[in-house]
């Protein structure tokens, strides 16, 4: 069997790696340490590549939150509930795409942790809405702090943000009313949680906007 030269083998290397291993190429690899080393390297790269995906992260939760709002606003997602949530929910998703990505400040994270705790609290607490609604007080405090600092920055989106805060407050009020009327309704609680979360997101954006304008 005639053996091939190194440059001939290099031209066959692509097909070789795809499993096309003809006799003359096999003979060359066996007899040429340099080409064998080349093949070994490519096989090692191929074998190591899948390990790159082992620690692939999930995208942050905000990616879905923003996407969902956008899809609801466009009417692609249709919400299903006794209440017309799509009509009543705050329509400030467009704002999420206009303002910079929120840098999650410590206060914002604290709020989200509190909100998460409120959502996952035992069902027993559902008959006592006060602990959940106490979170609203935390949000109100955060709102007073962030909005006052933001007003001083005279940002061009200030009016938009204020308008959206009013909308989200109105939405929260609707959700709170529903939870008061039906403390055991998980859907209503979920919407209240989302409403609080949206307000926290909005306040976070205001904070960041204020910071970036300073």
């Amino acid at each position: 069997m005639s053996t091939m030269e190194c440059n001939e083998f290099m031209e066959q290397l692509g097909p070789w790696m795809e499993g096309e291993r003809h006799g003359s190429a096999r003979a060359h690899v066996q007899s040429c340490p340099e080409c064998r080393s080349f093949v070994t390297d490519l096989e090692a790269i191929q074998a190591a590549a899948p390990t790159l995906s082992i620690a692939d992260p999930e995208p942050p939760a905000r990616v879905w939150a923003v996407l969902r709002n956008q899809l609801v606003d466009e009417g692609v997602i249709r919400e299903q509930s006794g209440i017309d949530w799509q009509r009543d929910r705050p329509r400030f998703a467009g704002l999420f795409t206009r303002v910079p990505r929120p840098a999650l400040a410590g206060a914002y994270l604290t709020l989200l942790v509190l909100l998460g705790f409120g959502l996952t609290a035992p069902v027993m607490q559902q008959t006592q809405p006060a602990p959940t609604f106490a979170l609203a007080a935390e949000l109100d405090h955060a709102e007073q702090t962030t909005v006052s600092s933001f007003d001083s920055s005279k940002s061009p989106v200030s009016a938009d943000l204020h308008e959206n805060l009013e909308i989200v407050d109105h939405y929260i009020a609707l959700c709170e009313k529903s939870v008061r009327e039906e403390p055991g309704n998980d859907v209503a609680r979920e919407y209240l949680y989302q409403a609080y979360q949206q307000k926290a997101d909005l306040l976070s954006m205001i904070t960041e906007r204020g910071d970036s304008n300073q």
Binding site: S37, D56, R68
Partner: protein, 235 residues
Amino acid sequence: MQLPGQLTHRSYGCVLTGSVARVRRTEPGEMPEAEAIRLAQQGDAAAFERLYRLHSRRVYSLCLRMVSNVAEAEDLTQEAFLQLFRKIATFRGESAFSTWLHRLAVNVVLMKLRKKSGNEMSLEQVTEPDEEAGGPRRDFGAPDLTLAGSIDRVNLQRAVEQLPPGYKTVFVLHDVQGYEHNEIAEIMGCSIGNSKSQLHKARVRLRELLHEAVRAKAREERKAAGTASGSSGED
């Protein structure tokens, strides 16, 4: 027989078939992908979220690997899913759902890279021009150094980041995410032969980059050893 939308997955160490093989495993009681697609086509909110949860990690990883920037990868992931969900009513299952989604994601990423570079780039243009014409370069005369044992996730990831976008896309889709060449051809809008060629060139380029990294590390170690022996000689 292979059904439309059901493609064979080349996995590593186990045999998996179907598009679900590439996504997070469906646990008992969870909505299957086909059902989620059907319900999403009717606007069902839970179905959209289900599809997002099934595929978001892979799409985000692809974007992150392509742009090496977390904020940009988030935006690109969002944009790919937005385009997908806007068009979901038109999905008829001619190709696997994940292939369709990845085609959108790759297009979104390449569009972003084109905008960044300020000019139009075809698949060929996003590779390295000096390797377009010929086969792989070989370091004839270089020391017979093999990479065996010196490839780890960190240095391989670093090398992948340095690949041109075209090579990187095919390498990530094939060698990292496990897509077949026929699927990559569909995702990237190129021929199967082109996909194979890009992959081979990507691996050869990675070999060069990894060898450079190994040599640089060896130089640093020699330098450090020299410094240390110099210091001890002064004592």
